[in-house]
């Protein structure tokens, strides 16, 4: 293989794929990025056998070929190189990089040992603009379960129906749901693993245009121009989360989002070891109190417009902040649905996003 490539393009492509490589030391080939010339362009691939990414960049090819190179060393190297053009030459599993001021050889692996990233041949189910997909995923990112004890919760449920696409995640203490109106050609219900969601967010932040979703045989692919992410899906059924979202509310309050976020953060400084703050809503204000036996206590108010009865409950302030962070618009609505039932948060002018927090029992 012999080719000339723009350093910026290469850097960008490497940063897209390098996070996927596995740290699995028993199979060192998984720590590599595969370089392969394909139809006049260069394909970079990385995989950890759960998740794989392929990306294509334009290069000037003088001789076709392929090689697998350890991701760490290559990425560290290419990030430091300043030259605009870089020449990559391979010989006997060694990659020689020649720029204006450098001559480097990196020891690579036999490309024959690199895993094959499966192709999903079926037709795309749906096509979503990358920025919108990213927006939806970011909102559900925080409430995925971290522990793998219930693997189906350590991921995001993506439910595609003919006119909408629903993204849900919950770690049993809070739940987020985002509904996007879309046109789909088929319906599907997929649980994306945690890692895949994080990678997908990274991938989408770097893209313009649409992302197509393909699904077959327990594998899902997200395909955009020049980049493709293939992942396994979580084997299991998602709990019937709809039952948890209360249909009616007892009281409802409208609050300025920025002020609330600020005050919750303030109160959080004095939360005890279980991160609890108490919020009490009266006719025209929401009072947040927190007490910590080692630090002290705090009481702060935010103006609020209350409908129905006053209420009070204790919550984990981190969960409130996670929810507020993702609320669009200036106003936020919180709904009290009874003691022991979840607190519901929604943006002031948007029906598509719901965030639930289970109260702490005192």
């Amino acid at each position: 293989m012999k080719l000339i490539v723009n350093q910026k393009n290469l850097k960008r492509a490497i940063s897209l794929v390098e996070k996927v490589v596995s740290k699995n030391t028993s199979l060192p080939i998984l720590g590599n990025i595969l370089f392969k010339t394909e139809n006049g362009r260069l394909r970079l691939s990385a995989t950890n056998l759960e998740l794989g990414i392929n990306t294509l960049i334009g290069v000037k090819i003088e001789e076709v070929g392929e090689i697998a190179v350890p991701a760490r060393i290559f990425s560290d190297f290419i990030n430091t190189v300043q030259d605009e053009k870089v020449t990559l030459v391979t010989k006997n599993n060694t990659l020689t990089i020649n720029a204006e001021h450098y001559k480097t050889s990196i020891l690579g692996f036999d490309p024959k040992d690199f895993p094959i990233i499966p192709k999903i041949k079926s037709e795309p189910i749906v096509s979503i603009p990358a920025s919108i997909l990213k927006g939806a995923l970011v909102k559900v990112l925080d409430s995925m379960a971290i522990s793998e004890t219930r693997p189906e919760l350590a991921g995001v449920l993506v439910q595609i129906k003919d006119n909408q696409c629903v993204f849900v995640s919950t770690d049993i203490f809070r739940l987020s749901e985002v509904i996007l109106p879309i046109k789909a050609s088929a319906s599907a219900s997929i649980i994306l693993p945690r890692n895949t969601v994080a990678e997908l967010v990274r991938m989408c932040s770097d893209l313009e245009g649409d992302v197509q979703i393909k699904y077959a045989d327990n594998q899902v692919a997200f395909v955009a121009e020049d980049i493709e992410l293939v992942s396994r899906v979580v084997d299991g059924t998602y709990p019937p989360y709809k039952n948890v979202i209360p249909e009616k509310f007892i009281s409802r309050a409208l609050i300025k989002r920025g002020e609330l976020e600020n005050n919750i953060r303030l109160a959080g400084l004095f939360a005890s070891s279980i991160s609890d703050v108490k919020i009490a809503c009266s006719k025209d204000k929401l009072t947040i109190t927190a007490r910590n036996s080692d630090k002290g206590e705090i009481e702060t108010d935010v103006p609020a417009v209350l409908k129905n009865e006053p209420f009070e409950l204790s919550l984990n302030y981190r969960y409130i902040l996670d929810g507020l962070k993702n609320m669009p618009g200036n106003d936020v609505i919180i709904e009290f649905t009874g003691a022991g039932s979840p607190l519901v948060m929604r943006p002031g002018d948007d029906k598509s996003f719901v965030y639930l927090i289970m109260p702490l029992r005192n």
Partner: protein, 457 residues
């Protein structure tokens, strides 16, 4: 050659030609799922492995398969779920997972447990089977729901594990909670202590107390766990007095009567004994049978009289085990889609019934005793008559007699050739003392625990 044998042979061959990491990565959880005269289908866990086997190992696999069964010409790969026979071998695991799921659901949002009262809605009087062993407790609970706080206050229910104490007292709670104006609180004693610890840390102990004092019905489960916890007992005492003084109902449960709970303060003991004490015993055969039938309602399976009576006859001590055994059989019917015959039932329950018999060896006991008293095992055998050695030696003799059934002369022999009358004296002495001396009794239990634990290692 069965599919399984064939695949094992192939795996054996592949393992030799690959590194360990490679072999495990690519061949874990693969199996032959179908086979006809010229081709086989291999199931693999995911797309990456499918691609790899198809493109890299196909020739090798085919070669080794044809070495064994030359008529096979083609291998197909399919992405599949874990194989069926794997499931078959492991019914117990499925049940375990089911139970686990149920358990984890208790903390999840979609659950039967009420967040305010902590009661599980599944427990009701309707689903409780009463028989002569628990008649009294059942009747007492029922009448408590009708005259809250007036007749049997406090109500103290005791009985061994898995006999339905929790079910009964939660049923009372659920019944009372139907009346929305009554405030019910169910607490496990362990949780109760945890709350107190937390309240002490946050200095909110008074809030906690006043919270308990607001309820109309307080249910404390497994109250024996507060034994030895001074602050918890103090709070229970205060709460108890407050509630009792206002004629609010209190229900307690424990695995033994109040008099037998060690290190329970006298003032609490007398209060616990002040109301009604009822025990829940081991159910007799007819009740067990009735319980099985009750549990089957809603499961939509018919197992037949013979099977049920087999389960009821063989699971005698504990209703939880009884239910476990029933679940196992029900799982069998769901997996195989047929009602098991008696012979199969026996097979399924085999592991339940024959817990392997573990023989206590004298060496283990001697070591446990020596470790416990922090002396060397040789000291036990020596002729020394120092006080710190004599007592452990006597304990060892007693335990040897009790646990291994060695004869007195044999025990004497093991402990450095002592006379059998020395051993008799020691055994009697320890037996008599342990009846009245609480610390000694606990020492014996601790040593026995060590002995039994050493089997598990």
């Amino acid at each position: 050659m069965t599919n399984e044998e064939l695949w094992k042979a192939v795996l054996g061959e592949m393992e030799l030609s690959l590194t360990r990491a490679n072999f495990i990565t690519w061949f874990k959880n693969t199996t032959i799922v179908a086979r006809d005269h010229s081709s086989i289908v291999v199931s693999v866990p995911n797309g990456f492995i499918k691609e790899w086997l198809e493109n890299k190992f196909n020739r090798k696999i085919l070669q080794s398969i044809r070495g064994l069964t030359p008529e096979i010409r083609e291998i197909k790969y399919s992405i599949g779920k874990p194989r069926v026979d794997f499931v078959r071998q492991d019914i117990s695991r499925i049940i375990l997972e089911k139970e686990l799921e149920e358990k984890t659901n208790i903390v999840s949002i979609d659950t039967d447990v009420d967040h305010l009262t902590n009661l599980n809605k599944r427990y009701s009087f309707d689903s409780f089977v009463s028989g002569s062993s628990n008649e009294m407790a059942y009747a007492a609970c029922l009448s408590v729901t009708k005259n809250l706080g007036k007749i049997y206050n406090p109500l103290f229910i005791y009985g061994n594990v898995g006999l339905g104490k929790t079910h009964l007292i939660q049923a009372v709670g659920n019944k009372v909670a139907e009346n929305k104006e009554k405030k019910v609180l169910y607490l496990q004693a362990e949780r109760f202590t945890a709350q107190i610890v937390e309240a002490i840390m946050n200095r909110t102990i008074e809030d906690l107390k006043s919270q308990y004092e607001k309820v109309d019905l307080l249910i404390l489960d497994d109250v024996q766990f507060i034994a030895g916890k001074v602050k918890a007992q103090e709070i229970i005492f205060a709460t108890f007095n407050e509630l009792y003084g206002r004629n609010k109902q209190i229900i307690l449960s424990s695995d033994r009567p109040p008099a037998a709970i060690p290190t329970l303060e006298e003032r609490l003991r007398s209060r616990f004994e002040g109301g009604m004490i009822a025990d829940v015993g081991v159910p007799e055969l007819e009740t067990r049978l009735a319980i099985l039938k009750q549990k089957l309602i809603g499961k939509n399976v018919d197992l037949g009289e013979e099977t049920l009576s087999y389960i009821a006859t063989h699971m005698q001590k504990n209703i939880r085990e009884l239910e476990g055994a029933l679940n196992r059989v029900v799982a069998f019917t769901q997996i195989y889609n047929k009602v098991p015959e008696l012979k199969e039932v026996k097979n399924i329950l085999n592991t339940y019934l024959s817990t392997p018999y573990k023989k206590t060896s004298p060496q283990v006991i001697l070591k446990a005793v020596a470790d416990f008293y922090n002396i060397s095992a040789a000291d036990l055998i020596k002729r020394s008559r120092k006080k710190e050695v004599v007592r452990p030696r006597q304990v060892a003799m007693f335990l040897l007699r009790d646990e291994t059934k060695l004869s007195f002369p044999e025990i004497g022999q093991k402990l450095g050739g002592r006379d059998h009358s020395t051993v008799i004296h020691a055994c009697e002495k320890i037996r008599n003392e342990s009846a009245i001396d609480e610390p000694l009794k606990q020492e014996l239990t601790l040593i026995k625990e060590r002995v039994y634990n050493s089997f598990d290692k």
